[in-house]
């Protein structure tokens, strides 16, 4: 009578799960399909679209019009850079909060999260002026700083929840054996925390990759990542579905592929302390 599912039940669940899965995935699938059609075909009815000739012309046009590789590279630098710097700042902070909790630790953590609730539009002009004076407009350095700061609370929170799951006794034992703080972090904590750090890293790369307010407003050309690349295809001149689809596919493909390949790590860590 255990929950060993009967084959019939498994079949029903399979059908249901696949239908839901395909429905959720469909919009992405559809733009990939449209991106390989000609502009004229892309606006036809769905059946006609499927029957129409496949072509690479939209990709060629997009490539001719924009420097995809540079936008791509900027996205990589910004998201990876800001995440790594964020981790360097966040790991010690989260470690301290998890293992040496004080009376105020929880408040500090909550306060950090609350800084993420500030509406960015409210502070854009001040930041713009500061950036202008520091010469950081349209520079990758400036954007890495901003992205690090806006994602720092999330990084700290995630790490904190992982670190808390590490039993304190292990550290005690290490300390007894004369391990210094540095040793503790390097040889005891780090290996245990690697899965958590990995998934924090992945999630924050995704968040930074997709950030579209600061990256659009503080860049022009040199530091503009893929969000800016997409913005230039956002409104039609004539027929534009195929070009938009091609540009969209190019913008989301890298992160989608990274996400898929690392989904085990990502999912394993993506709990924010939700599971005890």
């Amino acid at each position: 009578m255990a929950r060993a599912a009967t084959t019939q039940r498994k079949a029903i669940v399979t059908v249901a799960a696949w239908i839901v899965g395909i429905a959720i995935f469909f919009p992405i699938l559809w733009i990939v399909i449209l991106s390989f059609k000609s502009e004229g075909d892309a606006i036809r009815t769905p059946l006609e679209v499927l029957r129409a000739q496949w072509t690479l012309e939209s990709y060629t046009t997009v490539q001719e019009r924009s420097n995809y590789l540079r936008h791509f590279w900027n996205s990589v630098v910004l998201s990876v850079g800001s995440t790594l710097i964020g981790l360097i700042i966040a790991v010690p902070a989260a470690w301290a909060m998890a293992f040496v909790p004080g009376k105020r630790t929880k408040d500090v953590l909550m306060w950090m999260l609350s800084t993420k609730m500030l509406p960015p539009v409210g502070v854009l002009v001040p930041i713009y002026l500061i950036f202008r004076d520091l010469g950081l407009l349209d520079s990758r350095v400036g954007l890495v700083i901003v992205l690090t700061l806006i994602n720092l609370p999330i990084i700290i929170w995630m790490l904190y929840t992982y670190f808390r799951e590490i039993p304190g006794e292990i550290l005690e034992a290490a300390r007894m054996d004369g391990a210094t703080l540095r040793d503790e972090i390097l040889y005891v904590l780090t290996p245990m925390a690697v899965p958590g750090i990995a998934s924090t890293l992945l999630l924050n790369i995704i968040l930074a990759w997709n950030e579209a307010f600061w990256t659009l407003n503080l860049t022009a050309a040199k530091a503009a990542p893929l969000t800016a690349f997409i913005a230039s295809y956002s409104s039609p001149e004539g027929l534009f579905y195929a070009k938009l689809s091609a540009a969209s596919t190019m913008a989301i493909a890298p992160i989608l592929i990274m996400g898929w390949f690392s989904q085990k790590q990502l999912v394993r860590g993506l709990t924010f302390g939700a599971v005890k």
Binding site: R65, Y128, S232, S234, S235, E237, G238, L239
Partner: protein, 439 residues
């Protein structure tokens, strides 16, 4: 060991690139994603051939976003852009503020006297030019001659709004996906408000009375706006409240619109056989007026290239601006894509060119409507402002967009015409009071 060698080589490569980059000036050009600008980006080979030491970076944005970005940058002296694509609304305001470089010493082969006088004066402050026109436009009716024939209507050269409505009713065939008329509905002072303001002008309405009180409660505004809603709800396409110039262009090219009243520059695109399925069947007429009102909307617009004061490469920027708006560029486009594609509405010589006039059936009408536009007196009534389908005060962007939101909501059926006009009146009054016009 291997690693360090590779790193060393990488470093060398980087520094080599860096020295190469020093020799050339890079300029960043912010532009709007309209067809003519996209075309310009495909002509760059010619520019690079003339100026191998200049590299151009494009930032192409949708109109509303472009405005926000360049205004923010120029007003804060941010220096992110070296060339900005701006309208004839911005140029005089920014020029007077000293935000743009005056363009006084233009090379002789630029033939500055060839510019259309109406455009040139719109871009000048105290006699000096502050931006160069890339293309200029007025507005007119574009319609499908084949559909008109089928429906048994003939549109006169100077139709009235009543005739437009009749034609729209006859051409509409919703089952076949054909809508009698397509007009702008997307909120924005440069989108739906450009059209609705021009339509209001042609009904004898004005934005403000002589003491800067808004006039949305006046009879001509009421009549104009109600007719607009009436036309669009009965004969317009679904989703019209999010259609701007580009969206309507695409609908017309797909053959979904019977008539489209919009910028004259669209004519070059709807007659492009490669992009448009109706290229062979487009007729033109003057912007309509209300029976008895002698005003055809007074639409005058140009997209221009200006150089902000904050640029660090003024010479390179000027070289680019004169290239893109000069007579040579027109020739270039004509050679590569035919005369029909040449950027219209900026130079007298274009309208004296027999080949252009022959290849572009819309040319004469474009020139006539542009010449007829009178920004100094947009309405038959007296007004305290200069402007055509806009009001030339800095506050207008905000006010126009907020009013546009209300009108777009009425078009979407979220509120009725009276509420929208009342809201428009109220919020304009608020902003004008806040800005100190209304004492």
């Amino acid at each position: 060991m291997k690693h360090s060698i590779r790193a060393l080589m990488g470093a060398c490569a980087v520094s080599a690139l860096a020295t190469a980059a020093l020799a050339e000036t890079t300029i960043t050009v912010a532009t709007v994603n309209n067809g003519d600008m996209i075309r310009m980006q495909s002509m760059m080979e010619d520019f690079y051939a003339q100026h191998p030491d200049i590299k151009v970076e494009w930032v192409t944005l949708e109109e509303n976003v472009l405005r926000q970005r360049v205004t923010q940058d120029v007003a804060t002296n941010g220096g992110q852009f070296d060339v900005m694509t701006i309208g004839n609304y911005e140029v005089p305001i920014w020029g007077a503020r000293g935000w743009l470089m005056p363009l006084t010493d233009l090379p002789a082969d630029y033939k500055v006297d060839d510019l259309l006088p109406s455009i040139r004066s719109a871009l000048s402050v105290d006699g000096s030019l502050y931006a160069l026109p890339f293309y200029g436009e007025s507005a007119m009716v574009m319609y499908r001659t084949d559909l008109a024939e089928q429906a048994g209507v003939s549109l006169p050269d100077q139709p009235t709004w009543a005739q437009i409505k009749e034609a729209a009713a006859k051409m509409t065939d919703k089952d076949a996906g054909i809508y009698g008329i397509c007009l702008r509905g997307k909120p924005g002072w440069g989108e739906n408000m450009a059209f609705i303001s021009a339509m209001a002008n042609s009904y004898g309405a004005r934005w403000f009375d002589m003491s800067w009180e808004p006039e949305f409660d006046s009879a001509p505004w009421q009549a104009a706006f109600k007719d607009y809603l009436d036309l669009m709800t009965n004969y317009g396409p679904p989703g019209a409240s999010s259609n701007g110039f580009n969206e309507n262009l695409s609908l017309f090219q797909q053959g979904k619109c019977g008539m489209w009243i919009d910028a004259t520059v669209a004519a070059g695109f709807v007659t492009d056989p490669e992009e448009s399925s109706v290229a062979e069947n487009v007729g033109y007429a003057v912007f309509p007026n209300k029976d008895g009102v002698d005003n055809h909307g007074n639409w005058l617009w140009s997209w221009n290239l200006g150089i902000p004061k904050s640029t660090d490469a003024p010479e390179a920027a000027e070289a680019f601006v004169t290239w893109a708006t000069g007579p040579h560029y027109t020739q270039l486009v004509a050679e590569k894509q035919g005369w029909r594609a040449a950027p219209p509405g900026t130079r007298k010589s274009l309208y004296e060119n027999a080949t252009y006039l022959a290849e572009a059936p819309f040319a004469t009408l474009t020139k006539e409507t542009m010449d007829a536009a009178t920004p100094e007196k947009p309405s038959v009534q007296d007004v305290p402002y200069v402007g055509a389908q806009f009001v030339s005060i800095p506050e207008f962007q905000g006010i126009g967009t907020a009013v546009g939101q209300q009108f777009s909501a009425a078009l979407a059926g979220q509120m009725d015409a009276d509420t929208a006009l009342k809201n428009a009146q109220m919020l304009t009054q608020r902003e004008m009071t806040k800005a100190g016009y209304i004492k």
